[in-house]
């Protein structure tokens, strides 16, 4: 456990050094946020039927999406881990008296956290004071905010567990590009990153609800705006916990299996 904490701390502090990258990221996220909001604003001003989610809720959805992008994007990758596998440096990791799954999980978690800590605060701070209709509204009460924080954190843990599967797949395929692309495109769509889940047709929503992806992005964002009521949020947390346990279990098992048949090639 000490080792995992140590990896986590090392990566977290190290990740927070990249200030220029964070600044560039913040600028990009603002740009995207504005454009997407403008598009939806245009849609909503023409609409005559009842929208499944209000514009205000949608706008908070979008700003949170931009602020916590590092938590929820699937293509956020650690090339070092890929290189470890493809170059065989993993030989060293295999001579360590600790599980590789735990070490990698801690590393990936710290990287996402470091990246998000630097970016989310400025984005949220500014978005809270933007003029209408671009303003990010604060959560309605403290308990909503706490629920949001909890679901967001659980969502992050789910996302890291999901991305671990991607790293494990490289043991078999030896090339990260294929599994990465598949994961990123499908996973992000299913997480509601492209189209917010409430705006999807019902049949698609039914599919999305069966998969873990939306629990990392769509779910906490709608808890924030109150689009998902209190009781549903609590049920959602239980589902998050179940997914988390399942994904870590699968990853652990797959990793152990992959390591048994791994062959470190070359001298």
């Amino acid at each position: 456990m000490k080792a995992y904490v140590s990896v986590f701390k090392l990566r977290l502090f190290h990740g927070m050094q990249y200030r220029a990258a964070a600044l560039a990221g913040i600028a990009t996220q603002f740009f995207w946020g504005f454009i997407i909001i403008m598009v939806y604003e245009a849609f909503y001003s023409q609409g005559s039927i009842d929208a499944p989610i209000s514009l205000d809720e949608l706008i908070s959805y979008i700003w949170l999406q931009q602020a916590f992008l590092a938590f929820i994007i699937l293509w956020f990758r650690d090339n070092e881990l890929f290189q470890l596998i493809t170059t065989g440096n993993i030989a060293y990791e295999l001579c360590r008296p600790s599980g590789i799954y735990g070490l990698w999980y801690a590393k990936l978690l710290a990287q996402r956290l470091a990246s998000a800590l630097l970016r989310s605060m400025p984005i949220i701070a500014v978005a809270l004071f933007l003029p209408q209709p671009y303003q990010l509204l604060p959560p309605s009460d403290l308990s909503t905010f706490l629920l949001f924080a909890m679901t967001l954190l659980l969502g992050l843990l789910i996302m890291v567990a999901l991305s671990m599967l991607m790293y494990i797949s490289v043991f078999v395929t030896l090339s990260p590009s294929g599994s990465l692309l598949m994961f990123a495109v499908l996973g992000e769509f299913l997480a509601g990153m492209v189209i917010p889940v409430p705006l999807m047709p019902i049949w698609l929503q039914n599919i999305v609800n069966l998969l873990p992806f939306r629990y990392s992005a769509d779910f906490p964002f709608r808890v924030y705006s109150g689009h998902i009521p209190y009781n549903d949020a609590l049920t959602g947390i239980l589902i998050q916990l179940a997914w988390l346990a399942a994904l870590i279990g699968i990853g652990w098992f797959a990793m152990a299996k992959a390591l048994r048949r791994v062959v470190v090639q070359g001298g």
């Binding site: 080792a3 070092e80 008296p97």
Partner: protein, 325 residues
């Protein structure tokens, strides 16, 4: 300490000829060749030994090291190190060993070396006091003081390698596997690394298994060598044993005043000849060096003489020839 009996490992390697047609064919059906990396390898190593594990490229050296460090599961055979079977009790076992793979890196490339060390301290759960004293010893003997705060990516190969070796010893292992630890190092670094290996062997009684292509490493360190080729064990014994078996030749390089006629010396074979310089090979079992020199001085006016023992590389080449590898 280390007992290996009948170890064998076969790899299946996909093969494909060049060309488009073959590439398309390989999509549907692949042919595999079985490469026997290790065939029935057996040896025993006692505590405190330094063993040079040598062989030509692709002989199976690294494969053996990987099996012994628990990374690779062999197809058959017994490997018992300090009572552990490496690939079965991996986590309990690896606490007792240190491994350096000369071609790979275990340090985090974008953080200072000391951060990587501290991470390893936590991974191995080394008590703080033990860590401090180990670090002090390693810093001093490997001369790391000036580089320990530098990110790994800014280090030269030699500096990095010294850090890699230090990283493998922070948890006071009893066995150290070194897979080509001096690869790419300059003469000074090589000597520092060798001196260091000898120090930890003598002071801490660490058993060292060393693979290398640099025969000077072997000569400087190993009392015993194990030679393998094509996965088979070819020789296991002391350097002197090899010497007395093959090393009976001396090489005489002589420089003399202009002499147009080729030399004819009893008991010596002329390997190369020019009007000013010649290289002779003398089998010391058949002729005495001083006789050859007397004979020489009668024929030419000697300006310089150099007598060399057969270099260890030649002995190894001869061993390879004998075993046809």
């Amino acid at each position: 300490m280390i007992t290996i009996k009948g170890l064998s490992k076969t790899f299946h390697v996909a093969k494909r000829s060049s060309g488009m047609k073959e590439a398309v064919k390989a999509l549907f059906h692949r042919e595999y060749t079985a490469v026997e990396a290790l065939k029935d390898i057996s040896f025993t190593i006692n505590p405190g030994e330094i063993v040079g594990y040598i062989g030509p490229n692709g002989a199976g050296k690294s494969t053996t090291i990987k099996v012994m460090s628990g990374i690779l599961v062999p197809d058959g055979g017994i490997c018992s190190i300090m009572g552990f079977t490496p690939w079965q009790n991996r986590v309990a076992y690896v606490k007792h060993i240190g491994v350096v793979f000369g071609q790979r890196s275990q340090l985090w490339w974008d953080v200072p070396v000391i951060d990587s060390f501290e991470l390893l301290r936590d991974i191995y759960d080394v008590p703080e006091q033990e860590y401090r004293s180990n670090l002090a010893l390693l810093t001093e003997t490997l001369d790391l003081k000036d580089i320990i705060q530098t990110p790994v990516r800014q280090l030269s190969l030699g500096q990095r390698m010294r850090c890699e070796i230090a990283a493998s010893l922070l948890h006071s292992p009893s066995v150290l596997f070194l897979d080509e630890p001096t690869i790419g190092l300059d003469a000074v670094s090589k000597i520092a690394v060798r001196r260091f290996i000898r120090t930890i062997n003598e002071e801490k009684g660490v058993t060292v298994i060393l693979t290398t292509h640099d025969m000077n490493d072997i000569e400087a360190l190993a009392q015993r060598i194990i030679l393998i080729g094509k996965g088979r064990l070819l020789f296991d014994g002391s350097l002197d044993a090899i010497r007395s078996r093959f090393g009976t030749h001396k090489t005489l390089t002589i420089v003399y005043r202009n002499q147009p006629e080729p030399l004819q010396i009893a008991g010596a074979v002329v390997e190369s000849w020019s009007p000013e310089r010649a290289v002779l090979r003398v089998d010391t079992e058949q002729a005495v060096i001083s006789d050859v020199l007397i004979d020489l001085s009668k024929q030419v006016e000697l300006l310089d003489v150099a007598i060399d023992t057969q270099p260890i590389e030649d002995l190894i080449v001869q061993l390879y020839k004998e075993h046809q590898i």
